[in-house]
């Protein structure tokens, strides 16, 4: 009897232990499964957010890259357009000059040869340019060189396909001129980048600043009445015995491109 009693106690104790164990398992497992679920959900959210961030960063970088490429393409196009515009402006200037030169050529009663300035002199002492026409094109030494705006200079040496022109700004270049308002004649002498001058003008002549100076053209080299410049200043020379007239040349000899060559009349 006592033995049965102890067996029953032992059995009930082991059942209680099992129940306790099951309860403990349930107590731990039920919240743990919730935690796993929430952790899983959290992690999934985190991953989703990360993936979204990566995707959006990638999209942004792609857009940035596209924009950069587009900017580069537009910049290239702009540069090309600017070049084209410059070229067109240059062409427009050239064609305008050529048209004016053609008008001058048609008006001229003398033989004329159109030429282009291809180089300037290589040093600072001589005011000379090289043109692309020579003896093969009937350019001769001593030919006058003019442009639409005025007298440019004179040919000083020729080869078959090129000639050297001494500009009016060179101190060695002299030109017979007349102040058209007064009919006063004189010899114009170049003075490098400064104004050219007419020397030994008699004191008392009524020359004013702004008077037009044109080519005399009596020797048959330079065309008569072709513009040379305007009077810029009138003053007594160093010894006071005569006057010196400063002349601003009408052609800017430092920006020449197209010119007309007029061989001397004796050659025609």
């Amino acid at each position: 009897m006592a033995r049965n009693q102890s067996e029953i106690e032992a059995q009930s104790q082991s059942i209680a232990e099992y129940v306790f164990l099951v309860m403990v398992v349930l107590m731990v497992a039920v919240p743990a499964s919730g935690f796993v679920l929430s952790a899983q959900a959290g992690l999934a959210g985190l991953f989703a957010k990360g993936a979204y961030q990566v995707q959006s960063t990638r999209d942004l970088a792609q857009r940035l890259l596209d924009s950069s490429n587009r900017i580069h393409a537009l910049e290239r196009q702009l540069a090309q357009n600017e070049l084209e515009l410059t070229r067109l402006k240059q062409q427009s200037r050239d064609s305008s000059r050529l048209r004016e030169l053609l008008n001058l050529k048609q008006k001229s009663e003398r033989d004329t040869i159109a030429a282009e300035v291809v180089a300037r002199n290589p040093d600072n002492w001589f005011e000379q340019v090289v043109i692309d026409k020579g003896t093969d094109d009937k350019v001769t030494k001593g030919s006058a060189v003019i442009s639409v705006s005025g007298v440019v200079g004179q040919v000083v040496s020729c080869s078959d396909h090129a000639s050297v022109v001494r500009l009016l700004t060179d101190p060695d270049q002299k030109l017979g001129v007349v102040i058209s308002r007064l009919g006063l004649t004189g010899i114009l002498v170049g003075n490098y980048q400064n104004s050219a001058h007419i020397e030994y003008v008699p004191v008392g002549t009524n020359v004013d600043v702004g008077d037009k100076v044109v080519c005399l053209g009596k020797a048959g080299t330079f065309p008569d009445n072709h513009p040379v410049g305007t009077v810029a200043a009138v003053r007594r020379d160093a010894n006071g015995a005569s006057m010196q007239i400063d002349v601003k040349l009408s052609d800017n000899c430092y920006d020449l491109s197209q010119v007309l060559v007029l061989p001397p009349l004796s050659n025609n």
Binding site: V118, A119, R120, N121, P122, D123, N124, W125, F126, Q128, V130, V156, S157, V164, P171, D172, V189, N191, Y192, Q193, Y254
Partner: protein
């Protein structure tokens, strides 16, 4: 079998290359630099090149030994100094002067003279040669313009002194500014030619 020896052919090749470079420099001056002015004054590439050439390649004469200097008289030392200019510099200057003579109404003797004189200031043995070539070109350009002005004065050209004052400083400044640009490749070429010569010998 070739008529010329390897050494002669090599020398001839160097002369042809040098001639080509000088012609290119001349055309650059005529067609390009003549349009770029500083207060209406042009940079003179041929002159700058002549000076740098003379200073880079120097004199072909051997340096005197201390014993030779000790026994030499002042006159001998002076004479030796006078003849120790740069022969190749003078030839380069002469070449440019001949090209100029095709355009200008005179043969500019200043070019070969200054090429020779620049050999007195050989930059071969200086560490700061690239820097030193700037004042050297500045001074020798002045000297070249003085020689040119004197030649023009003898020819009776008007207003030489006034124009010399106007152009000499801007031109010397422009030439001095481009001097290092010329000096670096020229020294490179000189060193390369020395190395090739040594490797052949």
């Amino acid at each position: 079998m070739s008529i010329l020896s390897i050494k002669s052919r090599r020398r001839l090749g160097e002369i042809v290359i040098a001639g080509g470079i000088l012609l290119v420099a001349w055309f650059i001056q005529l067609a390009l630099l003549s349009k770029l002015t500083f207060s209406q004054v042009l940079c003179n590439l041929p002159l700058a090149m002549t000076i740098v050439w003379g200073a880079t390649f120097g004199s072909p004469m051997e340096k005197p030994t201390p014993d030779e200097l000790r026994v030499a008289s002042v006159g001998e030392v002076m004479a030796r100094q006078l003849i120790s200019g740069s022969l190749s510099g003078a030839l380069v200057g002469g070449f440019f002067a001949a090209l100029s003579f095709s355009v200008l109404p005179l043969y500019p003797v200043a070019y070969p003279l200054i090429g020779w004189i620049s050999g007195y200031f050989s930059l071969k043995n200086f560490n700061q040669a690239a820097f030193l070539c700037i004042p050297l070109v500045l001074l020798l350009t002045f000297l070249a313009e003085i020689i040119m002005a004197f030649q023009l004065f003898l020819m009776g050209r008007p207003d030489v002194a006034g124009h010399f004052i106007t152009i000499s400083f801007p031109e010397a400044l422009l030439n001095a500014l481009i001097a290092p640009v010329l000096f670096f490749p020229m020294r490179g070429w000189f060193e390369y030619s020395q190395w090739r010569r040594a490797s052949y010998e």
